[in-house]
């Protein structure tokens, strides 16, 4: 599903260089649930953004479903992201002026059909947000916001969900709830790459990748 070969990402700022990913090589199979662990600054988020086609690596290749992600044009990559990848972030990154349904539908490319609207409403229902469809993200608790972000990530039936510390701002109960939904997606055949500090996800993960200073320490 995902294949990284010698992926390196170097940030240059004010004349100095910081290596965020250092010759990272790994493969993630379709339907696998992979947790990525490591201390702050170890390159976890950089890895996730690189896997999602959001950040071009300084060197190396990233393949998704056999396609070299960064050999694609920006618009092809955007299309691929829209159809095959779902993102969940620690800070939710919801659009504050859209209601819950609007936030979920935002993931859909083009004008959503009635069927897509029903699917979005169904996802909100599954994630326990049905009654709050007309609310805005600012009126939700942190747990609810993250569940909304999960609903948005699931709308287009992606093949892979890339989740960056999705439980980082949640209490244990809500964290467990979010992990449960990711696990459900995984059970349905989806691939999950979960960047986390916590240990809760490890019970669901098929594999744990440990990063330190951009290097893969253990697989």
């Amino acid at each position: 599903m995902i294949r990284c070969v010698e992926v390196t990402k170097i940030f240059r700022k004010n004349g100095s260089e910081v290596t965020s990913l250092d010759r990272f090589t790994a493969e993630i199979a379709e339907g696998e649930f992979v947790a990525v662990r490591g201390p702050s600054g170890s390159g976890k988020t950089t890895l996730l953004l690189t896997l999602g086609g959001m950040q071009r690596p300084s060197a190396g290749t990233v393949q998704l479903g056999g396609r070299d992600l960064y050999a694609l044009s920006p618009s092809e990559r955007a299309k691929l992201r829209s159809s095959e990848i779902g993102f969940v972030f620690q800070m939710f990154h919801l659009v504050p002026y859209l209601d819950l349904l609007g936030n979920v539908l935002l993931a859909y490319p083009g004008k959503p059909s009635e069927a897509v609207r029903q699917r979005a409403a169904g996802l909100l229902d599954e994630l326990g947000l049905a009654k709050r469809g007309s609310h805005r993200p600012g009126e939700l608790s942190a747990g609810e916001r993250q569940r909304l972000a999960v609903a948005r990530a699931l709308l287009n039936r992606p093949k892979v969900i890339l989740a960056d510390e999705p439980t980082g701002n949640l209490d244990p109960e809500n964290a467990a709830e979010v992990i449960r939904h990711l696990a459900e997606f995984h059970r349905g055949g989806g691939t999950v790459v979960l960047v986390t500090h916590g240990t809760a996800a490890e019970t669901h993960a098929d594999r744990i990748l440990r990063l330190e200073q951009g290097r893969l320490l253990a697989d």
Partner: protein
Amino acid sequence: MSVLSHILREMGFRKLNTLFSLLGLSLAVTVVVASQLIAEADERETRRVTRDMGFNLRLIPAKTDLTQFYRDGFSRHAMDVSMLDRLATQLTNNVSFNHLVGSLRREYTINSQDVLLVGLSETYVAPGQGKKPMGFVIKKGTIHIGSQVALVQKKKKGEKMHIGVREFTVANDTIETGTPDDITIFARLDDVQSVLGLAGKINEIEAIDCLCLTADQDPLAILRKEIGGILPEVQVVQKRTLADARAKQRQTREKVNGVVLPSVLLASAVWIALLAVFNVRDRRQEIGILRALGKGGGRIAGLFLGKAVLVGLVAALIGAAMGTWVVLEFGPSLFPVTKKAIHANWPLAAQLIVATPLFAALASFIPAMLAVSHDPAETLRED
């Protein structure tokens, strides 16, 4: 979700940004509309007022001795009235003179009083330049007399008065002007030609310049060249004080317009651009997540440029209405002479309704490109 729906919701959410954008642009459109309408009204007023100050061009036979002319106030040489017709046929919007009146002026003695007898033709006006003649209209068989003439001849409005063998009716209430007009009798040209036995003759053509020449263009040289090309038999004398007053008024207005309008447009463009930059900064995370969701640069640019176009459209409507209202409300007291000519300028409003959204989009273009080129990974990493 459609781009329009997306834009409308964002505008509703960030009310202050939307309000300030609308305010800045509406104000600019108001100033543009008001200044344009005021400029038009000012020009009309200037034309009317300076026209009412009198003719500032005098065309007299070329062989006239100017010493005699200035001493007596008229030329002792006559020219054929057909010259007036010749000049009148050349009146277009492309010449620098207008409002032609042929006159025949001579001294005349009535009951031992030396007066100035002036016969005036009808006024010839360039097409589309107004029909109202300058000065007063003299009906056949009537005369307008100066205050000193009325006093010495003991005549009032409505009374009969003889000039030579012809009898005329005094048509005016006399007012002392403190000018040679006080010893002048004005009559129709054909009446004066008949009294003086100079049928078909005039000795002066009066005119007014176009109010379109600036001092640096040497207006008199241009006028002499234009008129001399049509009537080589005349010499052109310009009353400089009147001409200068008109030119100065016009130049002042042009200077004001030349500074005010560009300044307003520049300030408005900077204002819109700054608000758009703040909007982009406020929405960095949103741009990041839109990118993560697979939205392309076109969609993101569309959100910002579309907002600018929408704000520009609403601002144009508000500004055009406001600017028109301001001028219709306050214009009549500023321009009392031509107040009836103050109207809404709908073609200008229509132009602004098209131009303002484009202007707003142009001012927001750089911020929109900043949004498009913004690295989404940078904000998404800021968790």
